[in-house]
């Protein structure tokens, strides 16, 4: 998959580790908890604790750090943009460090920029780690179970999970197809990477039309194939895999919860100890 080889987010890497073996519900809840805490944290110390936790999880899951960093690469410009925005257009006032025409860069704004940048990095890192250690199937299973109690209030837990399963199953297939069509059109002299923005947008028609036609054809075929195997929605359906919440899950949840609590304690309270 030549054009998409930078893509790491959403790529499950099948390795056997204690982290991989956890119940998907544990992984989903832990990630949700971490994401919430990241938004609540106000101090660098909190971010540092969360970073240590994530790195520890990644190491325990035997993910190569280089691979993880590669996954962050597409994010680089977004990060630069967010930081620049904060530095130049942050809160007025504070201690000016240097001045460039009408623009004043203050120490406060620089710190704030570093904080937001770091947080953005952690947000992406934590979701990336989760997708790397949770197979898409486990993820949807876990999500379906977690949502099941809400079925009574009208949340279509099964349909959502099935939609996700299929989306996840077909992402690699559609990416391959997109690449193939792109190359086929390039073989007919099409250019996707040159010219002004409107030119490039127009140049996408020969890619998008066949891709949509193909996707609809696939969707049709898949619907027929599912019906042929007696699929009629979530009712009466059982599952081969029954999820089990074990002692190791309890340990994992406790560790994450503890780290989250520490991250939220303001440094002043630390000094008080």
């Amino acid at each position: 998959m030549e054009f998409f080889r930078g893509l790491v987010l959403g790529q499950y890497v099948p390795v056997d580790s204690a982290i991989h073996r956890l119940d998907p519900r544990t992984k989903i809840l832990a990630t949700l908890l971490l994401l919430t805490v990241m938004f609540a944290v106000r101090e660098f110390a909190g971010l540092a604790i969360l970073t240590v936790l994530l790195v520890a999880v990644a190491l325990a899951a035997r993910i190569a750090p280089a691979y993880l960093l590669r996954g962050l690469r597409p994010l680089f410009w977004l990060l630069v943009f967010a930081v620049v925005l904060q530095v130049f257009f942050g809160e007025p006032g504070g201690h000016p460090m240097f001045r460039w025409g009408p623009v004043v860069v203050t120490r406060e704004n620089l710190a704030q920029a570093a904080f937001y940048g770091w947080r953005l990095l952690l947000l992406v890192l934590s979701t990336t780690v989760m997708t790397l250690v949770t197979s898409p199937m486990e993820f949807t299973d876990g999500l379906e179970r977690l949502l099941r109690p809400f079925q009574r209030v009208g949340v279509p837990a099964h349909d959502l999970a099935m939609m996700m399963t299929i989306a996840l199953r077909f992402i690699p297939t559609l990416l391959e197809e997109a690449e193939k069509i792109m190359k086929a059109q390039m073989a007919r002299g099409a250019e996707f990477t040159r010219g002004s923005l409107p030119t490039r947008a127009r140049a996408l028609t020969p890619l998008l039309v066949p891709l949509f036609v193909g996707a609809f054809r696939r969707a049709d075929a898949l619907a027929v194939a599912m019906e042929a195997r007696c699929y009629r929605g979530g009712e009466h359906r059982t599952r081969m895999h029954v999820l089990r919440f074990g002692p190791q899950d309890l340990v994992a949840v406790t560790v994450v919860a503890a780290a989250a609590a520490f991250a939220l304690i303001p440094p002043a309270a630390w000094r008080g100890h």
Partner: protein, 288 residues
């Protein structure tokens, strides 16, 4: 015409999915040849031909068109792609325009031709694949039958007026008549249009009928390169690579092993018929 020198290609570099697709492949294809490329799925056939028109860039080694490195400085990629026409498997997937003629004209338009010139070329190309432009040109490509769509897609590359045409499984999924039609058109393009043809296929019967020379790939390496007859004569090697033999060649082999002295390098029904009749006559005389 095309020459590959020590071509190696590695994809997914630096990811857990890194793999070597081609290893040290050197070959040359001359103008006017009909060359078949065979090999099991994943042996690198498709990766190899994508180097011929510069869609892929070798990790190491060179690809030369008329002795010029196609990734050299001041080489126009479009000119390479115009000269080396490449059709992927299931090429009907690339159709996107509202009419067949507009779709076929897509390539020529990309080459900078005027609308009129592009359409004129499109009409000629449709003629070549047996889709009369007056009848098929104004129709939507999505209304055509499977075989017609396939031929329209081939026309889309022919309209670029390439010197070489590379086809990946052009007859897959068609009924026997559809297969015969496509192969007959390819044969005619070579004979009348003087096109150099490269055919990737799993159908040993198709390469036996069409190709003068075969390249055999196995796990990214070129393991055989020679006249079709000679390559098929090397049976043990082909079966070890997960490839078959043309049915009639296999039959001749089996008869030979059972003591009937049939020539082993037959490729067509007619050759097999003659060879078996000769062998039976020899045996008949031996008995008398």
């Amino acid at each position: 015409m095309i020459r590959c020198e020590h071509l190696t290609y590695v994809y997914g570099r630096g990811t857990p999915f890194e793999a070597t697709a081609l290893t040290d492949v050197s070959l040359a294809i001359s103008t006017g040849e009909v060359v078949g490329i065979i090999g099991a799925t994943g042996s690198g056939k498709s990766t190899l031909v994508q180097h011929f028109n510069g869609l892929l860039r070798p990790t190491s080694g060179r690809v030369l068109l008329d002795d010029v490195d196609i990734h050299g400085p001041r080489v126009d990629r479009r000119r390479i792609r115009q000269q080396i026409g490449l059709l992927f498997q299931d090429p009907e997937q690339q159709l996107f325009e509202e009419t067949v003629v507009a779709d076929v004209a897509f390539g020529p338009r990309n080459l900078g031709l005027s609308d009129d010139d592009a359409r004129a070329r499109a009409r000629r190309a449709l003629e070549l694949v047996g889709l009369p432009p007056d009848r098929f040109g104004p129709r939507s490509p999505f209304e055509l039958s499977g075989g017609e769509m396939r031929r329209a897609a081939i026309a889309g590359v022919l309209a670029m007026e390439p010197r070489m045409l590379i086809l990946d499984e052009p007859a897959a999924g068609l009924d026997p008549q559809g297969r015969r039609d496509i192969l007959e058109h390819v044969r005619r393009l070579h004979r009348d249009g003087a096109l150099t043809i490269v055919l990737i296929t799993h159908s040993m019967d198709a390469v036996a009928q069409l190709c003068e020379r075969l390249l055999v790939l196995d796990q990214g390496r070129l393991v055989a390169d020679g006249p079709t007859r000679a390559v098929f004569a090397d049976l043990s090697r082909l079966t070890a690579l997960g490839l078959g033999l043309p049915q009639v060649t296999l039959l001749a082999r089996r008869l030979g092993e059972r003591g009937l002295p049939v020539r082993r390098d037959v490729l067509t029904i007619e050759e097999a018929r003659v060879a078996i009749l000769e062998a039976l006559a020899v045996r008949g005389r031996g008995v008398l």
